[in-house]
């Protein structure tokens, strides 16, 4: 069965610094999708970034980028120039193709200090 592991329950970063959140997953599939979602105190889940496994190039969205290592089954999220508004729970998620179900990790709570 597919599993997603986030080994850092909490992380903290100084404003304007860079932080990396870790995510590993287990699958026997070769084609799949990976996501990072953000959940601020408002509880509204927001998609941060997504990656297709068949694409070798790491996805980037403004200050957010991923380090996707398919062989190692690792999908870390890098947040550059951290802002106070980045403080939230971050969830890593996995989805197989031809299915719309997401499997989520346990989450990492990110604190940003001024």
């Amino acid at each position: 069965a597919q599993t997603v592991t986030q080994s850092q329950p909490e992380m903290s970063v100084q404003e304007a610094e860079t932080v990396t959140l870790s995510c590993t997953y287990d699958t026997s599939e070769s084609d799949y999708y990976l996501f990072w979602y953000k959940q601020p105190p408002s509880r509204q889940m927001i998609l941060v970034i997504r990656q297709e496994a068949y694409k070798q190039q790491n996805a980037t969205e403004n200050r957010f980028s991923v380090n996707f290592q398919k062989a190692a089954k690792s999908f870390s999220l890098k947040i550059s120039d951290s802002q106070l508004g980045d403080a939230a729970m971050y969830f890593c998620a996995y989805r197989m193709p031809n299915t719309d179900k997401l499997i989520f990790g346990t989450g990492t709570r990110l604190q940003v200090f001024p």
């Binding site: 999708y33 509880r43 509204q44 889940m45 719309d100 179900k101 997401l102 990790g105 346990t106």
Partner: protein, 114 residues
Amino acid sequence: DVKVTQSSRYLVKRTGEKVFLECVQDMDHENMFWYRQDPGLGLRLIYFSYDVKMKEKGDIPEGYSVSREKKERFSLILESASTNQTSMYLCASSSYRVANEKLFFGSGTQLSVL
């Protein structure tokens, strides 16, 4: 913007009560999902639906049922609420017409069963 609306933000019920959690989406999405979110456990899939009157069990369906009589509405039912069902419940929707479509989430219902 897609809107997924959950009828209650907070709900307090007593053990043994029948509880209905309602979710409505306004983007004609085929897929709808109910997740449960608990600290340290992340999001776990309870039930999902790919079409009207269609439902499939997720990873933790025990103690829950669902109803999808109309495309835009997906209800989660706790037939006889128990204290271990105290949790945050998140509804989500997506379209399978769009490749690698993200999930759109509601703001969650925090349910307390006393």
